[in-house]
C-alpha cells in the first residue's frame, strides 16, 4: 500500500497539496497544535468522542432496526404500511438531514448518535425481516408437530435462525454508524469529534494538507475497528453457521 502510494505520487509528480508523502502525514501526528498538545493526542480525543457517539448510535439503530424487523415479520399489513417510509428515509441524503437533527436536538453527542442510528437501523430492518421469514418450512413443520407456541417458535426457531442475517446487517451498520456520527459533527456548532477535525483541516488544507489526510486515516481506523469488533462477536455467536465469512 505504502509503496503504491509513493509510486503514484512520484509517477504523476503530484505535489503535496494533492497527495502528501506518507512521512508528512505521519509527522503531522507529532506536530504541536494551537493549544500546545501534540496532534496524536488531539486526534485520539476526538476519535474517542466520535467512536462513543457511533457506538451509542449503533446500539440505538440496532435496537430500532430489530424492533421494526420483528414488527414487519409479525404483520404483513404493518409492513406494507410502513416500509415505504422506511425506504424513503434512506433516499434522503444524510447531509441534508443532519443539520436539521442538530437544530432539533442540539449540538451535544445525542444528536450525533441519532444521526448514526438513522444510518444503522435500515440494513438491520431489511436483512432481519428477511431472515425471520426465510425459515426452512420443515423446521416450522417440526415446531408445529411438537405443538410449540408462537412464542416458542419465535425464540427457539425464527430468532436464532435469522442471526446470520442480523450479523451481515450489523457489519454494514458498523461502518455506516461511524459515517453518520462524523456527518453529524459537520454542522456549525459542534465542538468535538472527527467531523470537527475534518472541517477545520479542510479549511487549512492549502497550508497543511497532511492534517486532513491524517484525519481521514483516523476516521477510517474507527470504522475498521467497529467492523472487526462486529466480526469477532459474530464468530462467537453464530459460529455454528456455515455462511459466516472470515473475520
Amino acid at each position: 500500500m505504502a509503496v503504491l502510494w509513493e509510486a503514484v505520487k512520484m509517477l504523476f509528480a503530484l505535489p503535496s497539496y494533492q497527495l502528501p508523502h506518507l512521512h508528512e502525514i505521519a509527522a503531522d501526528f507529532f506536530r504541536e497544535g494551537a493549544g500546545g498538545e501534540r496532534w496524536w493526542w488531539i486526534m485520539a480525543q476526538n476519535a474517542g468522542y466520535t467512536a462513543l457517539e457511533s457506538l451509542i448510535g449503533f446500539a440505538l439503530g440496532g435496537v430500532t432496526g430489530l424492533v421494526l424487523a420483528v414488527t414487519f415479520a409479525q404483520s404483513r399489513w404493518l409492513e406494507r404500511g410502513l416500509l415505504p417510509y422506511v425506504v424513503a428515509s434512506q433516499t434522503v441524503p444524510i447531509l441534508a438531514i443532519a443539520p436539521m437533527v442538530v437544530v432539533w436536538l442540539g449540538t451535544s453527542w445525542f444528536s450525533k448518535a441519532v444521526i448514526a442510528a438513522y444510518l444503522t437501523f435500515f440494513p438491520v430492518t431489511v436483512n432481519m425481516s428477511r431472515g425471520l421469514r426465510a425459515v426452512d418450512p420443515d423446521a416450522l413443520a417440526l415446531m408445529r408437530a411438537l405443538s410449540a407456541s408462537s412464542r416458542q417458535i419465535f425464540f427457539k426457531l425464527r430468532f436464532p435462525a435469522s442471526l446470520p442475517y442480523l450479523f451481515t446487517a450489523l457489519r454494514i451498520s458498523a461502518t455506516a454508524s461511524v459515517i453518520g456520527a462524523i456527518v453529524g459533527e459537520l454542522p456549525v456548532g459542534s465542538r468535538f469529534g472527527m467531523g470537527v477535525v475534518i472541517v477545520n483541516a479542510a479549511q487549512y488544507y492549502n497550508w497543511r494538507p497532511a492534517n486532513l489526510w491524517a484525519a481521514i486515516l483516523v476516521s477510517a481506523v474507527i470504522g475498521i475497528v467497529f467492523y472487526r469488533a462486529v466480526a469477532v462477536v459474530e464468530r462467537r455467536v453464530v459460529g455454528w453457521s456455515r455462511v459466516v465469512p472470515a473475520v
Binding site: A145, L146, K156, W240
Partner: protein, 270 residues
C-alpha cells in the same frame, strides 16, 4: 393385532394454487393397528408425503377424517402423540446434537435434569453418545438423521411418522439405519407409518406395505409382509424377500412412466 392407532376414512386432498388445482389424494382409507410398521410406497408425486402430513395434522385434508390414538389428528398433535422424521434431518444448526434431541422436551416444559438425562440416553440408543456436543455440520448425513430419529423419540411417542427418512442416504448407510430403526422400534414398541420410494426398504422394514397409484394417489394394493422377525441382514437373502419385492414391484402401476422410473431407480435388489 391391537387397537386401531391411525384411522383414515375417505381422505381426499386437492392443492389449490394459481396454476390451478392439483388433486393429490383420492378416497384413501387405511387403518394402522398398534405395533404395526406400515410403509407407504408409490411413485413421486403420488401424495404419500401429504398423506403422512395429514396424519400428523400438518396438512388438512380437503375431505375425509383422520383419527389418531382415538382422537382427532389435531388433538393428537396438540397432545404430542407422535414423533416425526423428515426426509432431511431438519436439525437446528445452532444447537448441538444433544440440544437438538432436547428440543421436544424443552417445548413440553420438562425439567432440565430430566431433559439432559433422557437426551443422553437417546443419543446412546442411536449410537451417538460421543457426539453429543457436536453441531450438525460436524456430523455426516447418516449421523444427522440418527439425531433426528432420537429427537422424534424424545417424548416417548406411541407413534412414529417417517417421511422418506433415509431417501437422501447412500445404500450402505440406509441398510444399516434400517437395521437400527427396527431395533429402536422393538425397544420403544412404537407404531410406525413410513413413507419410502425404495421397494427393498419397505419389504425389509414393514409388517404391511401400502402401494399407491400415481396422482391422484389412491391405495392400489396392500401387501402383507410375512417375513420372520426379527429381521436381520440375512432376511434380505431369503427367497421370500425376493418374492415380496417382485410382488410390490408388480403392484406399482404398469402403465405409468413414473412407476417405470421408480422400478429401475428405486429397486435395489435383483
Amino acid at each position: 393385532m391391537g387397537a386401531p392407532i391411525i384411522e383414515l376414512a375417505d381422505i381426499a386432498k386437492t392443492f389449490e394454487s394459481r396454476a390451478g388445482a392439483t388433486e393429490a389424494l383420492r378416497a384413501v382409507s387405511l387403518t394402522v393397528e398398534a405395533g404395526e410398521f406400515v410403509s407407504i410406497i408409490g411413485p413421486s408425486g403420488c401424495g404419500k408425503s401429504s398423506l403422512l402430513r395429514i396424519v400428523g395434522n400438518l396438512v388438512e385434508p380437503t375431505s375425509g377424517v383422520a383419527r389418531v390414538n382415538g382422537k382427532s389428528a389435531r388433538q393428537a398433535r396438540l397432545d404430542r402423540d407422535y414423533g416425526i422424521v423428515f426426509q432431511t434431518p431438519v436439525l437446528y444448526e445452532w444447537r448441538t446434537a444433544l440440544d437438538n434431541v432436547q428440543l421436544p422436551l424443552e417445548l413440553a416444559g420438562r425439567a432440565r435434569g430430566e431433559r439432559e438425562q433422557r437426551s443422553r440416553a437417546l443419543l446412546r440408543l442411536v449410537g451417538l453418545d460421543e457426539f453429543a456436543g457436536h453441531h450438525p455440520w460436524q456430523l455426516s448425513g447418516g449421523m444427522q438423521q440418527r439425531v433426528s430419529i432420537a429427537r422424534a423419540l424424545a417424548l416417548n411417542p406411541s407413534i412414529l411418522l417417517m417421511d422418506e427418512p433415509f431417501g437422501a442416504l447412500d445404500e450402505m448407510t440406509r441398510e444399516r439405519l434400517n437395521q437400527e430403526l427396527l431395533q429402536v422400534c422393538a425397544e420403544t414398541a412404537a407404531t410406525v407409518l413410513f413413507v419410502t420410494h425404495s421397494i427393498a426398504e419397505a419389504v425389509f422394514l414393514s409388517t404391511r406395505i401400502v402401494v399407491m397409484s400415481p396422482r391422484p394417489g389412491r391405495i392400489e394394493r396392500v401387501v402383507k409382509v410375512d417375513l420372520p422377525r426379527p429381521r436381520v441382514n440375512k432376511t434380505r437373502a431369503l427367497p421370500r424377500f425376493f418374492e415380496l419385492v417382485t410382488e410390490v414391484r408388480q403392484s406399482l402401476r404398469e402403465d405409468s412412466g413414473v412407476a417405470e422410473d421408480l422400478r429401475s431407480g428405486g429397486a435395489d435388489s435383483p
